[in-house]
Symmetry: D2
Subunit: 291 residues, 4 copies
């Protein structure tokens, strides 16, 4: 619905120097492309330049392959790391979960209502059987890869196999209560977004709502981040909070929190699917959605 349009998003990063915008915009102008949205950012500490250019592919006749080839010439002149994403391509997504239904429900509803840009939730994987009915309700295949009785590494290999078999391009941990091993991350080889039920870096690790209650915080939050080998330390994509009071029990924090979790996770997944995120030095540059 959102970006079924025939656009391409170029994500670019290179050492800052004069002339990058001029060269890039001239490149597209000379080929007749209309630039729909263009945003830049320069990291002040490292002097590194980042840019997202959204180009209307219908505005010029150049073929995909040729466009990429020709752009790579400009790119190499500036030492760019870059990628191009075609917005009409559907991204295949897997959702991993355990027992809490709220984030899974939310993503399934959004996908069903075509709120998620050109994405298809292709399968749901869980280490427990509880949410099978939820997946079925939306006619999404459900796979239970339980850990009991198998080694953790065996289970991880099963999960990776499923991701590969279904050509998954993005995995979303929607309250998946397992820590992914470094090996698994390597094997999966795709971006993985996790929702942590706290305002990171506060309350990393287990039982954040209980610890938030004990610390007596006056707001609670949630954090969506890319998964890296270090638990809860990956690049943050999105965060949000809500006010709570001394009256809120741990259960109440958890209920309020579940609403924050679902919207933070949805926004992060949406930003990723719209090709608006560049990761650099464990931080994210999240470009604005534009129109």
């Amino acid at each position: 619905m959102l970006k079924s349009k025939n656009n391409a998003a170029f994500l670019i990063s290179c050492p800052d120097r004069k002339g990058i915008i001029a060269a890039t915009s001239t490149f597209f102008f000379e080929r007749g492309f209309n630039i729909i949205h263009c945003q830049q950012y320069t990291d002040p500490r490292e002097g590194r330049f980042f840019m997202r250019v959204l180009v209307d592919l219908d505005s010029a006749p150049t073929a995909r392959v040729q466009l990429l080839e020709e752009f790579s010439t400009v790119a190499s002149g500036f030492g760019m790391q870059w990628s191009a994403h075609f917005c009409s391509d559907v991204t295949r997504v897997a959702v991993l979960c355990t027992r809490e239904p709220h984030c899974l429900f939310d993503l399934l509803c959004r996908a069903h209502s075509k709120e998620l840009s050109s994405a298809e939730i292709a399968l749901v994987i869980s280490n427990r059987p509880d949410l099978e009915a939820t997946a079925n309700q939306f006619r999404v295949p459900f796979f239970c890869c339980s850990i009991d009785g198998s080694q953790r590494r065996n289970q991880e290999r099963k999960v990776v196999r499923l991701l590969k078999q279904h050509h998954i391009q993005l995995a979303v941990l929607a309250r998946y209560m397992q820590i992914l091993s470094s090996d698994m991350l390597d094997e999966a080889g795709i971006p993985i977004i996790n929702i942590h039920h706290a305002f990171l870096p506060a309350f990393q690790g287990a039982a954040p709502y209980r610890r938030a209650w004990e610390r007596g915080v006056k707001m609670i939050g949630a954090t969506a981040h890319y998964v890296t080998p270090v638990l809860d330390e990956g690049p943050i994509i999105e965060q949000d909070v809500e006010r709570v009071t001394h009256e809120d029990s741990i259960d109440a924090l958890s209920r309020t929190g579940s609403d924050i979790e679902r919207r933070v996770l949805a926004r992060a997944v949406q930003a990723h699917l719209e090709h608006r995120v560049i990761i650099h030095a464990n931080r994210t540059i999240v470009f604005s959605p534009g129109l």
Copy 2:
């Protein structure tokens, strides 16, 4: 899940004078009841006193009927308007909708996950057939009362008949794009909560997102309110907003707004179901949830 506990919520309103808290709390104390939560408010303009008392029914042996009878004696001494609600009773809810699925989906998911206190979504009514599959997905009966080919009053009568037949105690307008006539409100005779997709009283009436864009506001919001005969002027239960920028198109406002709508509506419905709302002079007193 939340309040399946055997509690009773007393909602009280009367002219302010000395001794109301003393008399009420002594009443419950003398009968051996434990007061779980007690909150008061005095309207400074009218000198009117409001109170919600949440009582643990398991803490004393008095029967429901007797408790109510005895309380009515205290109440009449202070000229109280009051009602008592038994939290273990299930509230039967109807959701009315048209074409937008997000609020309906959200309520169905919450009911399914037992997030809504002792409530059952007993039926979905729409003036269009579009969302039948959504209701079916959650095994909730769906009724299409279309307006084409029938008079508006006929359609309203059909809706009211359904509400009566299913013993509905609360109707929720989840983006139901029809204005309810004063007659229908009378006939229905139950509280009706509507979600308006703007921060009332800004942008009352039609097309609020378009008008918000044209006015160039920097935040958009949503408002849940009880329905009264005057369009968008009923007592407000809950509101929330989110920041937007000049970059957001009308479509983008509508997408951002749909997230605000669902959480504002859910919170308002929850407050009503927990018997935390008193209406007075077109304003609401919304007591805090307590634990």
Copy 3:
């Protein structure tokens, strides 16, 4: 403090067409200028393009006059409306107030702490004597132009004369409880920013906190906007809100509101002083501050 740097901000608006970014960025690149920040926006309804380019003047030898002359050639090729602002130039600001001290205090403190980019609060004007001591405390000249005993137009002429004499470039209405006539706006001929103590377009006009209380809203807000001849209908620069409850009296709303007012006004003034605002069709494009 913030932008005493030797930068120039170009604010540009023109009909959208291919090649604008390319031409503009190439213009600066060819002259050796470093582009520090560059942001664009295209109005989807009118196909109008807007851009802010922040250029480091120290990065190239071209003189101010020459730069402007040469840029006007590019600009006329695209039919641009444009202006260039030199960030090292100090903007002379007048604050107009009546009796409420909080916004005046806030602006004076910020100016004193060098939080406002290259701005000097050159004078305070009031229609009442109450806040003279406040202005004196910060050694800013205070002028009382009272309305009693003089015609309103006479008073307005006096105010305009003061603005002219002190070479004021921006007037800020910090709870100035007078409506400016269309004639006065013409005569003043400078941008004027007002803070309205409500979330516009809700509660336009007088006594917004009282009306907010009566309507029973659950959040209150404030709006900073450019003043136009139509009361409270000028282009909005910034808004913010805070949650309130039924417990908050009109006085409490006003106290909570005064905190919102000061920060909303400060942000709007700051955006204007950093040359980040373009007005078009009664809406503002507010570019992000960058670094």
Copy 4:
């Protein structure tokens, strides 16, 4: 301005059991006192009961001393820890600061505008001379207790001596960049409120804005808490946050943060001055302001 009214606030805490509200409200009723506001909270983990009762002293003839004496009888029956605060009494406040002016300015402006309930900022103490002019501007005595050339304990003793000499009842650390020793806290013997420029428990300790930038958080916050011997671990009174983006430099975070700091600190100080805070087990119960 706010609470110059002749009210008394009773802050009560005791083991939960039936009859506490009844006994307390009956106590005041029998003596003819009007209860203006009454709020309770029961800690679910410890079964401990907390209450704040705001009583209109003008509504009954009992003298202060007698009231306290008589209440102590009720209180001992329930094993209450309690204190009574007379709202017409002025609280003497000292502000401690170092070099950052924004929080000091904010508190001085609020005190000057009578926004702080019955409080007087009686002196400003700093370990550096920078903010002397700021204090002078508001005619508040300024004392520089520098640390260079003296032992830290000597300096602390000097500060404590000033607090004692000026009969200070509340000290506010308004970006006072010194850690108070456990000995000093004992010697001072009064509540001390600190503003930490991060959303605790995230970024405890030094340089929170730099660390927030490095971690790439998408919101920054501030926390006001009572000071205890363990750095940044005292009971939290108030927190707030604002959204930031990858574009915000460390300086920009610090500027945005300074606005959060001042409002969070002001709200916490206000809550304390209105006798709305009870500390228990390193958490605060913050009762609502009522009217």
